[in-house]
Symmetry: C2
Subunit: 342 residues, 2 copies
DNA sequence: TAACTTTATGACAGCGCTGGTCATTTTGTA
DNA sequence: TACAAAATGACCAGCGCTGTCATAAAGTTA
């Protein structure tokens, strides 16, 4: 019923020791043998027992994902990606929702790692942007991978997966520019999230490239929430010279903006184009559906986990700076249109 | 650094087996010995190794949560509740997102349980409403707890946590009735989800009690989505004699209804009252915020986990039918008001 | 108080795997 | 063909705990 290392060994016609060698990428195993073993593992649906491995080995076979993100869709997507990667590599995933702002958070993370003997940690915002967490983890010698907003791999930070918000925002803005818009406003997300800053920078860069000066009144601070979108848009639409397009820093803000516009009987997209960011379910639950940037969160998470395994695994110290960069893709739906000729 | 059962045994002056007995509440241990051991455990900050226990024991110290629910907020809330309960009882939680409609789903669940040696499973809709899953689990003798919609504990189903949608819907409808509404429409969720049926039944019961016949045209089939709400409300508001209030089967539908109403320049709540169900973040991300029923998902999840532990743990076979029932509570916000006098 | 039952405790094997040490076989190379 | 190097296996201990069974302590009865 339950398939163990012995079953695999028997099936592949090798000793359990060799199966173990294959599983752990140990040197001195012929490729042919590796293949045989892998095939046997597949045929038997073998999954090594994490319990036994954790117990027997000095290494650990579980990774942790700590999060504190109000966006449930994001978290679920991340989990799914991590889970997939873990399954493939025979790791366990420990999820740990917590409060990033709690005073004892650093100690809490350390306790978690030590008590659960974690091989490593995957960090998303806000944790990935908290230097004290990174320091604490480094000091106790625990591997971790951070998913952060950024465009250029930095050689000293090899443990990052980058999401290129800058370039994505640049592209979105270009989409708007190509539709003839020049009066484009930007609704910011939370200051603390670097993603908001990156997106704003991409936005500005696109404008600048076309020789357009960003109107300071068109850049509205805010936070990643529906309410913020309502407020920001209301403010913008009260301006004597309104923008013809609004770039909202995420879909929730965009939904809020959409809402505000409709309240004022402004037709979307005929009189005003609105774009979001993230391709969250929100962006489909508005009318019209939002043009947005698709962030492949599940894939990003997988990539982060793989990176972590690579660090953790003894064999694979390939020293090459593999720092994946993901660029969210423009997804044109019905909330954007050619600028209205006045 | 790491304290094991041997350290505790040495400290308490007993054998490791006795320590094990104390940990597992096994009978035949003198109270004096129990105290000694407990004290030693405390002094040493002893934490048993889940890995070793899982490996050595026929019982397991992990439970699983399988889900396939498009509502990420629901899933996250559930996870949090389960996690809390697990932490308190020294269990691990294994999360397993999957596709309920996949043809091999039963086998997949069985594989999961057998391979990960789970002590039990927590099932939420749709899994909790799939008889084939329950049968398969029973046949391989695995404990599980189902969270289902229902109001009356049934003596033959001891492994259920009930969410009393009927009563909650009854109360919501009463709220509307007390505001003077009599022309109330109902937007259904998916047929397959029993929650939709239960809520509709509660709705009808409340009307009947007031001597009101539910207008068949006011009961609109649909699904748990924004789009469905838009469609249903649009249809209702085109009727010659419109309803003065709409009971949407969940917040998403309600948000859709709200949206549709606003498109038609109908003032909420002055001209039309709308209620949702669930108290999801959606209900706060509309304007006006929705009157809804609050479902304490985290608490429900905890309760389900506790029930599972009770079943699993050898000592506690209290045979009493402890079948928790949760009644979502009415949460009045700004989307409902006294019926307009015509 | 002996004989016996019940209760409390310990000795020991083993869960599935890793890590080490050697011995042995297979392969590649001079 | 001889020899070094690479590939594999056999075997053992042990990770921290539980299950089984044997044994010791305590309680009961006549």
């Amino acid at each position: 019923m339950k398939v163990t290392i012995h079953d695999v060994a028997a099936r592949a016609g090798v000793s359990i020791k060799t199966v173990s060698r294959v599983m752990n990428n140990e040197p001195s195993v012929k490729q042919a043998t590796i293949d045989k073993v892998n095939q046997a593992m597949q045929e038997l649906h073998y999954q090594p027992s994490a319990a036994a491995r954790n117990l027997a080995s000095t290494k650990s076979y579980s990774i942790g994902y700590i999060y504190d993100n109000p966006n449930a869709y994001y978290v679920i997507d991340m989990q799914r990606g991590l889970l997939d990667a873990c399954r493939r590599h025979g790791y366990e995933l420990l999820i740990h929702p917590t409060n990033a702002k709690s005073p004892g958070i650093v100690q809490e993370v350390i306790d978690l790692v030590q008590h659960s003997r974690l091989a490593g940690l995957v960090l998303t915002p806000p944790f990935s942007e908290m230097p004290e967490i990174a320091e604490a983890l480094s000091s106790i010698n625990v591997d971790f991978v951070r998913i952060i907003s950024g465009s250029t791999p930095s050689p000293k930070q090899t443990n990052c997966v980058l999401v290129d918000d800058f370039t994505a925002a640049f592209k979105i803005t270009n989409h708007l520019l190509e539709l003839g818009h020049s009066q484009i406003a930007f609704l910011c997300g939370d200051d603390e999230h670097s993603s908001s800053g990156e997106r704003l920078a991409g936005f500005k860069a696109a404008l600048t490239k076309r020789g357009i000066n960003a109107n300071p009144k068109f850049i509205v601070p805010g936070s990643y929430s529906f309410e913020s979108g309502v407020k920001g848009a209301t403010q913008l639409l009260a301006l004597p010279n309104k923008p013809t397009a609004i770039f909202a820093c995420n879909d929730e803000i965009a939904a809020g903006a959409l809402f505000s516009a409709r309240l004022q009987h402004i037709e979307i997209p005929q009189q005003l184009s609105i774009v979001g960011f993230e391709n969250s379910p929100f962006s489909r639950q508005t009318w019209p559906p939002l043009t947005t940037a698709h962030q492949p969160n599940s894939t990003i998470a997988q990539s982060a986990a793989e990176l972590l395994f690579k660090h953790t695994r003894p064999g694979n110290h390939s020293q090459t700076e593999d720092q994946p960069v993901f660029i969210p893709e423009l997804l044109v739906r019905e909330s954007t249109a050619v600028v209205a000729s006045e």
